[in-house]
Amino acid sequence: MSFRDILDSGKFAVTAEIGPPKGTDIKEMYHHIEVLKGKIDVANVTDNQSAVMRISSLAVCKIVLDNGMEPVLQMTCRDRNRIGLQADLLGASVLGIHNVLCLTGDHVNAGDHKQAKSVYDVESVQLLKIVEGMNNGKDMSGNEMKGATNFYAGAVVTPEANPLEPQLVKFEKKVKAGAKFFQTQAIYDMEKFKSFMAYARKFPVKVLAGIVVLKSAGMANFMNKNVPGISVPQVLIDEIKAAGKEKALETGINIAARHIKQLKDEKICDGVHIMAIGMEDKVPMIMERAGLL
């Protein structure tokens, strides 16, 4: 079943991230693909994540596909103008990649080429429209193309952004521009997420909750302070602290699993997107504890 079919069928979907490496040695990445294969539904390939230069998302999507998993092509607007983006979309399409996650992309300031000129010729909402146009056989300027694409387009949303209202305005624009599924920024507060979902359910889109495993209380505090749109409730930080340093990661995994289980059991959303960030090995364990395997 394709990703689109899984979500349409109402099955609780699980996606995880594959982060392309910097350099041509891809042994470890292969290993991650092996670990995840057959466990998760689709693999989400990041696009120069955090503005750090790596192997292109398109190339890695192709590798994922060749290794028997369905990929989601992440595409940011930071590094290519509208011509480059469309060219790569056509390229993806002919390589058999049909899921695309449209992002604006982190600012170069966050990455390892801070002096780069950002492009941002178009941004996420406009990219979604481009995808929609190409699915209808037209490029952005309205030119007829020989052969249309058939992308399942997605976008991201931050349910705990502060202030939230402008974020929701943008969410609605993304829906209008053709987003069919959404991945969220990491969420930790189930009650807050539920109220967001009560709102999101009004739109004909699927939502995958973002899951990031807390490795320590320090990491939680760091994210609270430094990562916009993430807020880890104090009770969770206390829980990890109470477990002690040795068992912090273990506790974090349990919390993630607990959350996933709750999301699924209470049918809060349509799936989860696990951002393992270097702990791809642990994803099966999380899924197992969440009762998904």
Binding site: Y120, P166, Q167, K170, K173
Partner: protein, 223 residues
Amino acid sequence: MITGEQKPFEEIWNMVKDFKKVLVFGCNTCVAICHAGGGKEAEILASLLRMKASEEGIAIEINHNAVERHCEPEFFQPVMEDIRTYDLILSTACGVGVNLLSENIGDIPVFPAINTEFFGAVPRAGEFTELCAGCGNCILHLTGGICPIARCSKSLLNGPCGGTNNGSCEVSPDIKCAWVLIYDRMKKLNKLDLMKEINEAKDWSKAQGPRNFKVKVLEEIKK
């Protein structure tokens, strides 16, 4: 107004050190107001360069002068004869001035002492801030008078990115998130509906140089 900041002194010194007679040439309009390149700053820079030269034991004659504006040739024509006696003009005008003087001066080099920056406002004494990017295609009527091209780090047109952080930009807590500002202002103006409309991808053709335009009335008079 056009803003600029003086280049690091070492960089300027390296431009100047191999010349024998240098004029530090100030412009008394925009860059004077931002305390970077007016007659006063030209005088200060000339003095610093003279001291550096004497410290390095290099004989350079360094003088200073300034005129009203460097972006219109009529202003520097009167001093052209004097200017031509130098073998380097170190301009403290904006890049426009450096270009125009280069075109008019013949075979004497004109070097910039200023990094020309942006169109700035002065919200408070001594503080300059970019509010317009000169994109050639103004949409301020759609964004509550707050320019997302100049004031959003990613020049987004349809709302804040995920990096918006309690009203600040992910790039720096010192930058206000333009889209939060726009949202608040549109709400105040009771124009949130306008914000919900998708803004199409921008026509950047008008922002790309070289640009020029002619004032029709003046053209007619010339005729």
